[in-house]
Amino acid sequence: MSRKSFRQALNEGLRQEMRRDPRVVVIGEDVTGGAGASGDQDAWGGAFGVTKGILGEFGRSRILDTPITESAFIGAAAGAAITGLRPVTELMFVDFLGVCFDQIINQAAKFRYMFGGKTKTPLVIRATYGAGSGSASQHSQALYPLFTHIPGLKVVIPSTPYDAKGLLIEAIRDDDPVIFLENKLMYDDMGEVPDGSYTIPFGEASVPFEGKDATIVAFGRMVRIAKRAAERLRLLHKIEVTVIDPRTTSPLDEDTIIEAVKRTGRVVIADEAYPRCGMAADISSMIAEKAFYHLKAPILKITPPHSPVPFAPSLERHYVPLPSKIEAAVKSLFDGSRENLH
């Protein structure tokens, strides 16, 4: 155990799996960085440095740079997965799903079903997501609801370095296609991470904050924001909140959420994806169906507006839900003026 960054945790998990299983290969644009160029051959280790050093340890047969052709290399990873490799592919920005979506949702996701259960597709697609870095509309989206919508895909969103490593190893060992999303603002986050190998099962939430009065559900970077809101609610308003981080959107740990809602009767889902047909809507509707009679107040969703991500910091600052907004939402669930919520 030692303190490691989110980035290091991922790198370590990946290397350990590559050592353990020669079928694990890394594929993506600039995953080494420098292929064919005159300088350092491992100059980038991926656009966010996650795969740095893998070239030195494993060589070019295990880590493959690609041309800028996402359909070809994501599709190739899918084809490799059904024929015996276990590729870990890097999509750089999840926003780029648009240029390779077919290979993900109509090919990789559906092989097993279309082929009558006679194949498996052990494919991991890593991508960064999230607003807050001034990257504007085409490099800041969350988009995990799009993957969550598609049967056949699993979707993972780690919120800590510890989870990142354990969930990545689980993803690599999983026999289904897994979309693994990393918030681009979290790579330097530090946390305790075991040196050895370990896995965290999919569909099991973590509960980083416990309280009896209300529940907040959040993924990825929103977990930290939700925790901050929970702290303030406790200190300033004496409202004790449970924060649930389901860690995977698909499969979803419905039981932990339902149990907490039954216990607390009040729930806010704080999510950074677009609101319409989004993650917050998904979880809200699940609760509205399965824990209805335990609800003491409306299920609130705190999300960005139905709007692309703006560039200007003065706008972007208000895009991803702030702790204050979550705090206000939870507080409002205790107001007498319930009808005035909208």
Binding site: P67, A72, G152, D176, T248
Partner: protein, 356 residues
């Protein structure tokens, strides 16, 4: 750029099918490499082509009965392409296919009974009824699947080729796709990726001159061979109605890929006998064009003429194959029709290996 084989007519190249009347023995016995096809292989080739043809012709009839769910796309007319190519492959080699995939599957060794049952939507089908005509896959026989998405296959083949290369299986991977799919961006990207990664991959563009109702005269700019070989891939264009031409070019192509030299491109030209799908009235092609292709571009007739003319096989032997195949298809249809449908409890199984 392309090696000197590009556009090379080859020993049994496209120019030769017209000559079938005046064949001499040497023309058939020996291909460009001076290799003679053993009698058994000749029979196998004929049998595979006949299997595909009979399968497809019969399906056209079955579709008319209204008992075949969904849409089927028939490969009749193009049998020599799948057959000539796949005879060089074994189960460790992978192919990707298209919406028009029956011929490729049969040539790759996927079982007829399972295929027919699949197309009828039965529990005994290759994919247990879940995939249907457009998704027949059989990984055990190296069949990566028909594909409902035009251009869906070439990227997958890059991956299967990467597996072969990385795990040094000795296998290769080969993509069949149409002239329509040739334009799709995924195909272009795959050519480039296969070259960049130097993959043991073969790309076979099966050019029937049409994508649905649109002619490639209209839809495809420039020249197929020029466009493919501009990636630095060697390639050959052959008459896809001439089994020998295809078989010969495919040997070169597959040997090239297998020996680690990187990808190879094949262009096979052969007509699509039916409309785009079984039931398509095919009004966009003139009666003359359709008549002419059935008369003059029938790979089975051409094959028969060649081997009979050269005295390699006798008509009786070939007729016996026809009869055997007819029986196989009859039995497959009967079995498929008698087979149970998948149980409703199967609706949501097989989505994942494991789901929480």
């Amino acid at each position: 750029m392309a090696n000197d084989e590009q556009h090379g007519p080859g020993g049994m190249g496209s120019q030769q099918s017209d000559d079938s009347a005046g064949l001499t023995q040497g023309d058939i016995l020996f291909d460009r490499h001076g290799m003679q096809l053993p009698r058994q292989e000749l029979i196998q080739a004929y049998r595979t082509m006949r299997l595909i043809r009979t399968f497809e012709d019969r399906l056209a009839q079955e579709v008319d009965t209204g008992d075949v769910p969904g849409t089927v796309h028939l490969y009749a007319g193009q049998e020599a392409s799948a057959t000539g190519v796949c005879m060089h492959l074994t189960d460790r080699d992978f192919i990707s296919s298209t919406h028009r995939g029956h011929g490729h599957a049969i040539a790759k060794g996927v079982g007829i009974d399972g295929m027919m049952a699949e197309i009828f939507g039965r529990a005994t089908g290759t994919c247990r009824g879940k995939g249907g005509s457009m998704h027949i896959a059989d990984l055990d026989h190296g069949m990566l699947g028909a594909n409902g998405i035009v251009g869906g296959g070439p990227p997958l083949v890059c991956g299967a080729a990467l597996t072969a290369k990385t795990l040094a299986t000795g296998g290769i991977a080969l993509a069949f796709f149409g002239d329509g799919a040739f334009n799709q961006g995924t195909t272009a990207e795959s050519f480039n990726l296969a070259m960049v990664w130097k993959l043991p991959a073969v790309f076979v563009c099966e050019d029937n001159g049409v994508g649905e109702a649109t002619s490639s005269e209209f839809a495809l700019a420039g020249d197929i061979m020029a466009r493919a070989t501009a990636y630095g891939m060697p390639g050959q264009s052959v008459d896809g109605t001439d089994f020998f031409a295809v078989h010969d070019a495919a040997r070169t192509a597959i040997a090239h890929a297998r020996s680690g030299k990187g990808p190879y491109f094949l262009h096979t030209k052969a007509p699509r006998y039916y409309g785009h799908y079984a039931g398509d009235p095919d009004l966009y092609r003139s009666a003359e064009e359709k008549d002419a292709m059935r008369q003059q571009q029938d790979c089975l007739k051409i094959f028969r003429a060649k081997v009979l003319g050269a005295g390699l096989l006798d008509a009786q032997r070939l007729d016996a194959v026809d009869a055997e195949v007819a029986g196989i298809i009859d039995a497959a249809v009967a079995a498929a029709r008698a087979a149970p449908s998948p149980d409703a409890s199967e609706l949501s199984t097989d989505v994942y290996v494991r789901y929480a």
